[in-house]
Subunit: 360 residues, 2 copies
DNA sequence: CTGAAAGCGCTTACAG
DNA sequence: CTGAAAGCGCTTACAG
């Protein structure tokens, strides 16, 4: 009936021009939105059929499909996500929490997450915790209100906090970077400790006698790198106590400052492991400023292999970390879990790789 | 009635321990969620009063407020955003589109946006367009489904595209970086052209005779910097055609490569304007590699003042851009618009600043 | 300051 | 392959 009426309208006024109809529809509703009911009416079907045409096209007849597609286009229909979430109790939204957005490392991880989630049809909300537990707690609360289907978190702490705030409700989460202690909790990452150990070994093999360490930020992962590095030195019978650390953000400038302190406190230090590449770049600049030859007078190793490390002068030895893959695989694992698929390895170690270059 | 019944339950079983009640509630619903109705029942009020206690606490009596707060805590109630959006037709969500997330520039802008929106009680969805119009179109469509209250876009193109896809519906948008041509369309940014011009002027004042330009990416803003730079050279009677450009992503390594090309094609070039700091850093490394003294044999100027520019050796002359403020002010302008406040200047020029350092 | 009713725009589950 | 009914969990607008 209403379908007939509609096609009548069309032929009486202007065929193929439904612009006035759109206006009329908008005006007829308090919200001014074109809804699935409008599309259904225009296509001469029920709203359920429109819904099916959108989600499971194979369950809708060809000609109905075409009329619906035409109606959607003419009316400029956009499905209302809020209504869909409310009715289906699935949001297709994933909450993602990272410590910092100014750190390239996490941006790369987000790229991995985005690439996987986009093709899987999920959106995500990005939260920046600033390495603060209070921020974490608040963000989880805020995100919970969006009824996310799952979480991608970047520390074991966050998983614990999530569980508390869930209060019995059950939303799956994968933790990134750190590998979980339990084999059941889902996690994707690599061993920071082993990576730090590998750097120490490398410097010793190269013949440096007094390798030191510089670090800022001092978040748990930095400290694990340090632990590994110190163990590597100790295992080789070297002094593990040559180090300068500041609990401030890691910046290139901070790297320059820390190199100054290191040389002041340990004048015989001949190599330095910078706990990330920003610090390493600052250290390199400071050496250049002081006329200290790298690596002849001071070797420099970094961490993460940021874009400049390979093309600096001299190129910087560093640890290549699988941060894109961490995001990608973590997202994959989460979606598999949501789809009820079996997960091969809930604790996925992606490893790391030492890139030996001119600076050591 | 139900309130009485409830307090009866409490005193009969365990006072102050409603954990079993939470379980019962979850079990009693298909979705397993605690709703505003459950809270209302537990507090002995209507759901409207709970809603008010959450949104406009000043309109709810003290003691009702306290009982509601207690019930929320005990039941672990989290408001369902989807239901709220659907009922109120306001999502408190802003769609943000930037060209790239791997570029620090946009991350800084996002920080500004986040800082403003967070305190204003808004969430945001971040989309990365990869400088592609097709991606833009898709992202806008996807975001439209989330019924955003507004958009923060990073090009005039995007505003146009949004208007098309809106099909008459009306969602306010502010464009960032580029200043709008019309004074009515909201925009926050600065003049890329003037900034490029200023760099040219500076190099000429310093006495460089054959300044050149290197650029990659070649997006519209890069091209405006170039236009300004060329005009500056031409106005000073210099050759504006010393330039190397590649339509590939800007990376540090690309800067090194472009410097090689520049020297090959224009051996007498004595200064270079790198269209961003990544390229400048690569150019500096390449000069160091070749033993070319900066600035004596080759002056280098960058763009954006990324963190390393000030502490490189030599420190790099660059243009300080107000990218944090662009995000912050754009978000502010958008929210003001949403609140129906009057906007002082719809076209907000935040300017830029030339930082003269050792490299020129 | 508080509440009962209606509705937001979808989807689920049940019929046919 | 298609549809009528009921419901998701809030808020708006109207009463009191």
């Amino acid at each position: 009936m209403s379908a007939n009426q509609h096609s009548l309208n069309l032929s009486v006024s202007k065929p193929n021009t439904v612009a006035p109809t759109v206006k009329a529809i908008r005006a007829s509703r308090a919200t001014g939105r074109v809804t699935i009911v409008d599309v259904a009416r225009a296509a001469g079907v029920s709203s359920m059929t429109v819904s099916r045409a959108l989600k499971t096209p194979e369950r809708v007849q060809q000609d109905a499909h075409e009329r619906i597609a035409a109606a959607i286009k003419q009316l400029g229909y956009v499905p209302n996500k809020a209504a869909s979430i409310l009715a289906s109790a699935r949001s297709q939204v994933i909450g993602v929490l990272v410590p910092s957005l100014t750190n390239t490392v996490f941006i790369d991880t987000l790229s991995g997450i985005r690439d996987y989630l986009a093709q899987a049809g999920y959106q995500f909300l990005i939260g920046e915790t600033g390495y603060s537990r209070e921020q974490e707690r608040q963000l989880i609360s805020t995100y919970l209100a969006h009824a996310p289907d799952g979480f991608l978190l970047s520390s074991a702490d966050q998983c614990e906090m999530l569980r508390q705030q869930l209060n019995g409700g059950d939303i799956p989460a994968v933790s990134m970077f750190d590998l979980g202690k339990s084999k059941n909790a889902m996690s994707v990452g690599f061993s920071q400790t082993k990576a730090g150990y590998a750097v120490a070994q490398h410097l010793i093999e190269r013949g440096y006698r007094r390798p030191g360490l510089m670090s800022a930020q001092l978040d748990p992962r930095m400290m694990k790198r340090r632990d590994g590095f110190r163990k590597g030195l100790a295992d080789a019978g070297r002094d593990p106590n040559i180090e300068v650390m500041l609990p401030l953000p890691t910046t290139v400038d901070m790297g320059a400052q820390l190199l100054g302190r290191l040389l002041q406190q340990y004048p015989d230090c001949d190599a330095v492991f910078c706990c990330n590449d920003d610090l390493a770049l600052g250290a390199l600049f400071e050496c250049q400023r002081r006329g200290i030859k790298v690596p002849q007078q001071m070797a420099i190793a970094g961490f993460n292999d940021l874009s400049w490390a390979a093309c600096a002068t001299p190129s910087i030895t560093t640890v290549i970390t699988p941060r894109y893959d961490i995001g990608h695989k973590a997202a994959q694992m989460l979606i598999q879990q949501l789809n009820g698929e079996t997960i091969a390895k809930a604790r996925l170690d992606l490893g790391f790789q030492l890139a030996v270059r001119e600076s050591t």
